[in-house]
Every structure is written in structure tokens, then in C-alpha cells.
Symmetry: C3
Subunit: 216 residues, 3 copies
């Protein structure tokens, strides 16, 4: 047990983290919506424009993460463990980073066409972001929303499994059918970055689960 936990009995919780995490969730939702748009953009110019918008949203996320850390330094007592707040902020930021990473690679490598599974994959990322928004919203009153939070974590796990299959089949497909090695290299790396975004979304839900366990 840490000294923080002992002090919690005497000092009221600082709840100002919740609006910050809700802001993080809505930034993520915005980025993932743009990612969906990117995947159906037909011209290089459109893709460039959308990927610039995603980069701007990623900057918003960076600033938010910075504000959460500052808040952490100022707070005497936190609503849950300090490491968990930090882990949560950092994992949320990672999801955003990988969304931006995939988008920047599309803009940079200029694949001849968007590899079709990317469209469905972006949809899964967006759905996971929506679930995370619900989860982070529910965290404000975690005890009351326990059932809902557990359910949301299961949904994210299901989405991650779906993404995993899609990734698996897509990469097999690339290696079997893509005869242009350069295009294969491009799409393989973009796909790998997209896949990490989903992995990190599951990490966020795992951290939330841990927080819930500690509260029980």
C-alpha cells in the first residue's frame, strides 16, 4: 500500500482528471473518424489534406497529455493511483500516435491504391474509439457503472479479435497476391501501424479494467 492510499482516507479526491480524459476520448474519436475518411479518399490531394487534419488532431492530443501530466504534478490526491492515470494518458496518446502514424505513412509512401481491408480496419478503430469514450465517461462513477464498463471492455476485446483476423488475412493476401514488391512494402507497413492502434486501444481498456479491480 502506498502512502497515497493512506492519505486518501483523510483528503478529498481531486476529480479534475475526468474532464481531461473525456476530452482525450473525444479527440480520439475525431481522429478515428478522419481515418475512415482517409481510407475512402480517392485522390492523393484529398489524402494529403485529410492526413494534415489528422496531424493537427494528434497535436491536440499531445497538448492534452501534457496538461494531464501537469495536473498530476499539481494534485495532492488523485481519484485513482498516479501510475494508472499516467498509464491511461500515455496509452490513449499511443492510440492517437498510431492513427497518425498510419495516416502519415499513407501520405508519405503514396501507395497506388488504398488496400481494401484498410477501410474495414479503420471502421474497427473508430468503433473501438467509441467504446473507449463510453468507458472513460463511465469511469467518473466507476462503482455505479461497473457492469457497463466490464461490458465495454468485452466489446473492445471482440473488436481486437476481429481486427486480428482481418490483419492476418490481409497480410497473407499481400504476400500471396501483391506482385509489386514496393507496393507490398508500403501496405505491409501501413497495415502494421493500423494494427498497433487497435492493440493500444485494448491496452487502454486493460488499464481501465485494472483501475476497476483496485476499486473493488
Amino acid at each position: 500500500m502506498k502512502i497515497d492510499s493512506i492519505l486518501k482516507f483523510f483528503v478529498p479526491n481531486d476529480t479534475s482528471f475526468f474532464p481531461l480524459f473525456e476530452e482525450g476520448a473525444s479527440i480520439l474519436l475525431k481522429a478515428s473518424a478522419l481515418l475512415k475518411t482517409l481510407m475512402v479518399s480517392e485522390t492523393m490531394e484529398q489524402r494529403e489534406m485529410v492526413s494534415k487534419q489528422i496531424k493537427a488532431v494528434e497535436h491536440e492530443g499531445d497538448e492534452l497529455t501534457h496538461r494531464i501530466y501537469q495536473q498530476l504534478n499539481k494534485s495532492f490526491i488523485t481519484p485513482f493511483d498516479r501510475e494508472d492515470i499516467q498509464a491511461l494518458a500515455s496509452a490513449l496518446d499511443d492510440v492517437l500516435d498510431y492513427i497518425n502514424g498510419a495516416s502519415q505513412r499513407i501520405n508519405l509512401y503514396k501507395p497506388k491504391a488504398i488496400f481494401p481491408p484498410f477501410i474495414e480496419f479503420a471502421g474497427i478503430i473508430h468503433a473501438a474509439a467509441g467504446e473507449l469514450e463510453q468507458l472513460l465517461h463511465g469511469l467518473k462513477d466507476a462503482v455505479k457503472n461497473k457492469e457497463k464498463i466490464v461490458q465495454g471492455c468485452i466489446t473492445i476485446n471482440t473488436l481486437e479479435n476481429k481486427a486480428d483476423d482481418l490483419y492476418h488475412n490481409g497480410i497473407s493476401d499481400l504476400f500471396e497476391h501483391e506482385k509489386d514488391t514496393i507496393e507490398l512494402i508500403k501496405n505491409k507497413e501501413i497495415f502494421g501501424t493500423l494494427e498497433k492502434a487497435v492493440d493500444k486501444a485494448e491496452d487502454v481498456s486493460d488499464i481501465i479494467k485494472t483501475i476497476l479491480i483496485k476499486m473493488a
Copy 2:
């Protein structure tokens, strides 16, 4: 000195982490034995079957890591620093992740043949896992086993150097002699993942060394 260290003078140590780490070591040993089998499996079907077994072992590892973290949250006093327990659990899990990562890539990319150095490399990983098992077993009575632990860390360092040379020569060989670019891409990435597994095994031994230094 942290408050934990001060409290240690008054409260008996919780030793329940040792069986968990020994379980971690035996999971790792199982995964690395399967990796050796994978490298000598001749058909795609065999490889697919073995890589599924490795994935299942990796899940066991994930669950164990989770249990270690839960134990950490419940423990008032830990046998060594909290960060070290966490670092140890996380590095052990990383070795397993890279073993699984290499195995999944073999199953996914379907290289035409197993690149011969992979067989020896899997042997090195398995040998390192065996050393780690000894180290983690010795940690239960670290002061008594100090000499043995130091010796085991040296062995792992030697294995890592051997792996490094093997990797170095193998990659040079690939770039010089593999004329099929697609096969080169596959084998280069599988090799890179195998190499990280050995790196992480050395990280585990470094963490154990740190723990030993603190105890001195």
C-alpha cells in the same frame, strides 16, 4: 530511500512472488522449446499447429503477468522494490511476446523454407530461457545463491553475444544471397523479432543483477 524501504524494517516480507516468477520461467521454457520444434517443422500445416501452441502458451504468460500485477496491488510489503517486480514481470512477458511474434510471423508470412540460422537461434533462446529459470529460482534465496546468479548472468551475456554474431552474419547473408526480395523481407523481419527475444532475455538478467546489487 523510499517509504517502502523504511517500512521493510517493521513488516515481514511477502514472499508469494517467488512461485509466480518460477511459473513465469517455466512458461518461457515451454514456449522456447516449442520455438525449437517450429524451426524444424517441415510442412506449413505442422508450423501452423506449433505456432498455435505457442500462442496458447503466450496467453498463459499474459494471465500470469496479470496475476503478478494484482499481487503487487494487494501486497503491503514486497520482497524487493515494487518497480523491480514490475520490471521483471514485464521483461519476462516481453521475451514471450517476441517468441510468439516470431512464430506468428512464420505462420503468417509462410516463408518458402525456414532460414537455416533460425534453428541455431531458437536453440540459443531456449538455452537463455533455461538460464533464466535457474536465476529466478535462485532469487528466492538471493544472498545464498549470489555466486550462482552472477554466473548465470554471465552465461546469458555470452549467449546474447553469440546470438548477435549469428544475427549479424545471417542478415549479411540474406542481403548478399537472397535474390527473392519477398523472401528476404519475410526472413529479415522474422529474424529481427527473434533477435529482440534474446535482447529481452538479457534485460531480464540485467534486472536480476540490479535486484542483487540493491540487496548487497
Copy 3:
């Protein structure tokens, strides 16, 4: 507020970290100077020799990081937060790792020629290392040097933006003009490693900024 912060009112600071960080900065400067030399080395033999020197410098860095961690374990009170010292040491070590990683890849992959943008890129990394040296030197008297530190962080940010553009254009150029896929794979990966070195240098300056904010 952590127990450390409370104790700081009663116990004098341990300042022995500053010489260690200055040593870290000078190791980094040495490695980045060698990286510049590597990029203009004309024969494979010269490159091999320089990359061995870089590897030796990287080992120096590893030992230093180890000494910083040991110092951290022995210190009752630190000049700034424990996590920040650890983060600073680890980020400095990461810059060095990526410099060594790029250099080892050049030695290992043996690209037919050094891709021209690498020369300018190594110059940017060296300039960033020079700025970090000033920053880490200034940290010894952070309050007095505040203005200078802020200015140095801005310079590093400018260097990172320049590196970003150079990377962006270089990768586009590779995908458009490099017809030898094997050479493309080599240079793309070397470039990616160089780019991470600059990213990590910016991380170091971000950590320094955080330390400064806490002191204000």
C-alpha cells in the same frame, strides 16, 4: 505531492547527478560526431571501423546509465523527482541507441552508397546533441539559466522540424526513384532509425522542460 517533496524541505539535495548527466551529454556528442564521419566514409572498411567506434561509445553510455541508476538507489534525496532523473537517463540512452542502431545497420546492410540526405541528417543529430549538452549543463543552476534552457528547447524543436521535412522528402524520393528494391529496403530502415534518434533528442528536451516547470 510525494513524500520526497515533503522531505526536500528538511534534507539537502544530492547534486551528484549533474556531473553524470554532463558525462552523458559528452558521450552523446562524441557518438554524433562519429555518425557524421560515418556518413562521409567512402569505403566499406572505413564504415566498418567507424561503426565499431560508435558501438564502443554506446557501451560507455550503457555503463553510465547503469551508474545513474545505482546513484538513484543510493540517494536519499534527489535534486529533482526520481522519475524525471530516470526518464532523462533513459531518453539520453535511447538517442545513443538509435545512433548506434543506424550505424550498425549501415555496417550490416552494406548499402551500395550512403543515401545523400543521411549526411545532412547526421549534421542535425550532431547539432541537437550540442544543444542537449548546453541544456544539461544549464540544469545545474536551472533557475538562473531558465531563459537559456527555454531557448535551447526551442532550437531542438526547430531542428526536429527540419529533420522531419528532410525525412519526409527523402522517403518520398526513395519510393519514387530507387528502382533497386533491396537498396530501398536498406535505406528506408536506416533512415527510420536516424529519424528516431532525433525524436528521442526532442524527448530529452521535453523532459528537461517538465523539470523546469516543476521547479517554477
